[in-house]
Symmetry: C2
Subunit: 297 residues, 2 copies
């Protein structure tokens, strides 16, 4: 069994990014700032080439009904091949666990970026089928889980880890999971943004403790300050995109590339309908990460 190693400390990259000439000074202090659009040909940060010597196994998985992406990451340099699943969906748990079995991985954490309103998480079902796996969600979400994480925590799987960055605004408990930046971690970095940032857009901010003001600050201070070639993987996509980068979103995000007041106006005028799954999904997702395996019930 791979031990759970969780370290709570500030993320040095934030300070480093603030000192970097390429990072606007205002970013570190979460102050609103206008991001000037980049001319297309000047863009330097691209994804996603592949690399032979990476010890990261990475798979992006899609659930069509809710347009949700689930992410599988594993350290295949470790003999036990410890793995994590980010944002699993209940309907696709069997697919995911079968893939994990075929690849010879050992799932240690089933993690959520937040309490989803549009689908039921697969976490509870995973725990019933694979009692060794632990559920993970942010403490700020108020949801039950085996491990409640906070900003600055590091979640290890083998020698690889994900940093926890608090990115509230879509919900009060949203976090972004970010790979480390030391030489033995994947390069470029990867950030799993949940609904805080989706490709060219963002999650709504009108329920579950949402706040457009807070979301703007979260993304600008915690995501846009990452290196510009950081690969951003959202919890959803509705147009068939699979990945983006910090540089692309700073330039082209239809909402978050605007100034804060414009962003807030956009978010206040989305006129979205009530989510059809919310009354089922939210209550289920608040507790199912803590669902015990049948033998213990």
């Amino acid at each position: 069994m791979v031990p759970f190693r969780l370290y709570r400390h500030l993320i040095p990259q934030l300070a480093a990014a603030a000192r970097s000439p390429s990072a606007p000074k205002a970013a570190a202090s979460c102050a609103p700032r206008r991001i000037p659009p980049l001319p297309a040909l000047a863009m330097a940060a691209y994804g996603t080439g592949v690399c032979a010597d990476s010890k990261l196994l990475f798979r992006q998985l899609f659930e069509k009904e809710s347009s949700t992406y689930t992410y599988l990451l594993a350290d295949v340099g470790d003999p036990e091949k410890p793995a994590v699943l980010i944002d699993p969906v209940d309907r696709t748990v069997d697919r995911d666990l079968n893939l994990i079995k075929e690849l010879g991985l050992k799932l240690i954490y089933a993690m959520n970026t937040h309490v989803h309103a549009d689908h039921v998480t697969g976490t509870g079902l995973i725990k019933t089928k694979l009692p060794g796996a632990k559920s993970v969600i942010s403490k700020a979400s108020g949801a039950k889980a085996d491990q409640s994480v906070e900003h600055g925590d590091k979640i290890y799987f083998g020698k690889l880890f994900l940093e926890v960055r608090a990115t509230p605004g879509h919900t009060a408990g949203c976090v972004t999971y970010v790979t480390g930046d030391s030489p033995d971690q994947p390069s470029p970095r990867m950030a799993f943004t949940g609904d805080a940032l989706i490709i060219r857009a963002c999650g709504r901010t009108d329920f579950q403790g949402g706040s457009s003001d807070q979301l703007y600050q979260s993304v600008h201070s915690q995501i846009f300050t990452l290196p510009k070639d950081t690969l951003l993987y959202p919890a959803h996509d509705y147009k068939g995109f699979t990945v983006t980068t910090v540089e692309e979103e700073v330039a082209y995000n239809a909402r978050l590339s605007k100034d804060k007041e414009t962003f807030k106006t956009i978010m206040e005028n989305l006129n979205l309908s009530y989510p059809k799954m919310i009354d089922v999904a939210v209550p289920a997702n608040m507790v199912c990460g803590f669902q015990d395996p049948p033998s213990k019930v």
Copy 2:
């Protein structure tokens, strides 16, 4: 304008693969062979880590209605950032061209792995919107295009290239596009298999000159002989998978991991319904790669 460089010669990797101890000797001669399943924990070939110094920009794009993957590849080490699109779909052309514009790429080829029966290719529409782009399809398909390619051709975009491997069986004109294996090409290699191989399955073989016997030989001689960590990207997926590897498919493909006779029996008993789009898609796809821009019509 990046010149079209097309070299017709045999692919040395095929001979090398046949000589390699890891490649079964029968593979090079296309003889049927049984692939023993690998124990899960022995699997060494994984994807898809990311790499900082790759000059390949790679994006996987999804069209939900036909569950089609379109692939964007570009050489971002080249000042012009020449790009190719593999298997574009008519319904998502605007999305794809907008992304190409945002990323500052220059689309030089819109390529098809075969004449699709389930959707209309985006090639013709791309040519009307971007007259500089050339359409590419195999000569064996019988379809019209600016460039007709054959087994062994290399299609360059900047310093990167795709080899053409003939993989008939789903249709008589199917090809697989494979990245090169020299040190300046992406590693691990990537193969865009069209419908010859889809994740854990394959395309049907009961129309358009299909042959289960031929498909089995194509996949075993042209795809399963690639290095086991080669990333395989299909034209479709219906279960939410995005990528697989040679090693995984040799072990776990529900059809192609079987012996040839079993495979043929499976393919003869699929009892699939007539494709709803075939009578629209095939006639359109036979000619639209050659559709001239409006100014020339």
